[in-house]
């Protein structure tokens, strides 16, 4: 885990005082809402349907036990006892009082946390792979670069008023667990001739014009990544469209200019930027890297797991992933209980997971873009004890990547931008497909639900995606098939006319029935869809 030094701390502390000053000016009437809104948005404070909402940054999805515990305490003290983990691996509180917001930020600052740039037309929270540092297939641990970029992007003076929000992702594995190519810029760290550098992808994103990012550079040496990103951002800041907010993302610029022309402009700017000494010295990366060193793993541990308890064995098969260190495992904690609210966790559950991280996972945990949690370094011998504690707290659902592991945005139950409710649909689906045997038989099947075209629920990237729309004041749901946010990234295709809430659950059942009937050996739902195409699925739904 990265730890702040006095510089990092002073910047975050200054931000708390700045926001306290701005909030006081607002409450005293010295700032109008028009003037205050951009200031609060820069600090992740939205006005939602029922109250103010505060989005807390969880940089690259990594948390210490102490930080997690603080998140739970804040939920209990300032909110209504729960929080919502988002597809940006952040945490949202739904019931914040404006007057409390500066105190909450001050409490967060005591554990090296903040809400900086969790909203606004700036560089947002850097995202990364939840298995960073523990998966066997990575070229290097991406977190030191993610932290370097967190610092670089914090209050970047040139890129604070971009045409639109800007999301950067850093991964280093072949397997893409972070939807890297659906980011404005995706970096994939690779090793070439013993040197680390980044493949760069630009212009991906969801929203109303979903696009998978094309590669714009096959290798940027690690010590030039900052200047290369400055070049990418400068071209975007100067030429990105500002006349229409729906056409303002970098994906539209890359699309309208063409990849080659965008690349050419970036290269020109990069050649100039390289001369300016903008890159931190390699010593800075060397300073950051040890924070992410391996914890003190015990050597010589057994790899056997006692599977006597069948419910436990089921959970192990689903939720536990291979760790690079013998005797250790990665534990995925599902925040998708049957009939529950995807991504929500109570203050007590947050506290429990903090305790588990402290006791069993070297003080560390991760948040995933699929709105689940991860204990990254667990001794296999401790798995049973962990499972028992999770089970008592309602956190032992065994459904990772299955049909009930649904991503859903807060939707119209909370969000002022939404057109339809996402959560009730997720709940109905998870009830309909609750049977464990049936889920297992269906295998990997990623269902993603957004309550509006902004696509916070990543519906374009769902093997099965659902988009809620408002049809003359009535909620209506469009179904899409064939999307993926993984290394085989793709945008899903809409099946046809939309459905009512119950109608879309039925339609999804028909789609899965067809898959079961038509699949060939070893095929996931997505593979069968890709082989057969839309037609038979359409017939099954509407025929």
């Amino acid at each position: 885990m990265y730890r702040y030094d006095s510089y990092d701390q002073s910047i975050v502390d200054a931000r708390v005082e700045e926001f306290r000053d701005q909030t006081q000016r607002r409450l005293a009437g010295q700032l109008t809402e028009d003037q205050f809104k951009p200031l609060r948005l820069m600090n992740g404070l939205y006005l939602q349907l029922h109250a103010y909402m505060l989005r807390v940054a969880i940089p690259y999805g990594t948390l210490s036990a102490k930080q997690m515990r603080k998140l739970g305490e804040i939920a209990a003290k300032y909110d209504k006892g729960y929080g919502h983990f988002t597809t940006r691996t952040n945490l949202q509180y739904n019931w914040i009082k404006l007057a409390d917001a500066p105190d909450i930020l001050a409490e967060l600052a005591t554990v090296e946390m903040h809400a900086i740039q969790t909203s606004g037309n700036c560089i947002r929270n850097i995202s990364s792979d939840q298995y960073a540092g523990v998966s066997a297939d990575e070229a290097t641990d991406p977190r030191p670069w993610a932290e370097l970029l967190r610092q670089w992007s914090t209050f970047h003076p040139e890129f604070t008023y971009l045409p639109r929000k800007f999301k950067i992702c850093v991964i280093a594995s072949k397997e893409d667990r972070a939807a890297m190519r659906l980011h404005d810029i995706g970096l994939k760290l690779v090793s070439r001739d013993g040197q680390i550098g980044a493949e760069v992808y630009a212009g991906g994103g969801m929203g109303r014009t979903p696009m998978v990012a094309p590669q714009i550079k096959d290798f940027v040496p690690e010590d030039e990544i900052v200047s290369y990103l400055e070049a990418c951002l400068r071209v975007y800041n100067r030429y990105g469209r500002r006349d229409n907010k729906y056409k303002a993302r970098i994906k539209i610029l890359v699309h309208e200019l063409g990849v080659e022309e965008y690349k050419r402009q970036v290269e020109e700017e990069y050649a100039h930027m390289k001369q300016l000494g903008l890159n931190p010295p390699t010593e800075e990366l060397d300073r950051i890297r040890p924070f992410f060193a391996n914890p003190a793993y015990e050597q010589g541990l057994a790899d056997e797991i006692d599977r006597a308890d069948p419910a436990f064995a089921l959970w192990v098969d689903r939720q536990v992933a291979a760790h690079k260190q013998p005797g250790y495992a990665i534990v995925n904690i599902s925040l998708k209980p049957k009939g529950g609210i995807p991504g929500d966790a109570s203050a007590e559950q947050i506290g429990l997971v903090a305790d588990l991280a402290e006791t069993y996972s070297f003080d560390e945990l991760r948040v995933t873009h699929a709105q689940n949690l991860v204990l990254p370094h667990v001794k296999k011998a401790d798995l049973y004890a962990i499972w028992q504690k999770l089970d008592e707290a309602g956190l032992a659902e065994a459904n990772l990547d299955l049909i009930t592991d649904i991503i859903a945005c807060p939707g119209l139950d909370y969000c002022s931008l939404a057109n339809a409710r996402s959560i009730p649909l997720a709940q109905k689906l998870s009830e309909r497909f609750a049977d464990a045997g049936r889920q297992k038989d269906l295998g990997e099947l990623k269902v993603k639900i957004s309550g509006c075209i902004n696509a916070c629920g990543h519906h374009h990237a769902g093997h099965i995606g659902v988009l809620g729309v408002d049809r003359k004041g009535v909620e209506n749901f469009q179904l899409s098939l064939g999307g993926s946010g993984a290394e085989d990234a793709a945008v899903g295709q809409i099946t046809g006319p939309g459905f009512s809430e119950d109608g879309v659950v039925d339609a999804i059942e028909k789609v899965t029935d067809l898959y079961l009937a038509e699949r060939e050996e070893g095929e996931r739902f997505l593979d069968t869809y890709r082989r057969l195409g839309m037609k038979p699925f359409k017939e099954a739904i509407y025929g």
Binding site: D5, A14, E18, F155, P157, E158, Y161, L278, E283
Partner: protein, 146 residues
């Protein structure tokens, strides 16, 4: 209240700024005004003769002027660089960091708020054109300065 703010020595440039188009079309003017969306690089051949570049911010959220300013400073422009238009107190710090050294906002700024905004952050993470040492340089003084 502050209607004009300058961080330069001596008098502010008084000559009215002309458009980029008329400036590059062989005018003798030494002051030019860049509108959002205009290319600051068009001015690079003339930096020696310029004493004032105004960069207009039509709306505080239109950030193109930040890039324009930095481009000019990176190219060695040392004359007055003035932010005009919808310039708010909460943007002053970022503008200073991009090389602006004078400000004529549409709406006058509160003196105390200006002071607070400019001195809020003792440290910065990026190297830009304002000469401030980024945090990474302070962390590694031997490497960066030596």
């Amino acid at each position: 209240m502050v209607e004009f703010l300058s961080f330069r020595e001596g008098e502010a440039a008084q000559e009215p700024a002309v458009t980029v188009e008329s400036f590059t079309g062989q005018s003798n003017s030494t002051a030019v005004r860049i509108e959002a969306g205009e290319d600051a690089r068009e001015l690079l051949p003339y930096l020696d003769r310029l004493s004032l570049v105004e960069v207009n911010f039509p709306a505080y959220g239109d950030g193109r002027g930040y890039s324009a300013a930095r481009i000019l400073r990176e190219a060695g422009y040392e004359g007055e660089l003035r932010a005009v238009g919808d310039v708010l107190v909460d943007q002053l710090n970022a503008m200073r960091r991009c090389g602006f050294d004078s400000f004529r906002p549409d709406k006058a700024l509160d003196d105390a708020a200006v002071e607070r905004a400019l001195h809020r952050y003792a440290d910065v993470y990026q190297k830009t054109v304002d000469g401030r040492s980024p945090v990474w340089a302070k962390r590694h003084p031997e490497t960066v300065n030596g």
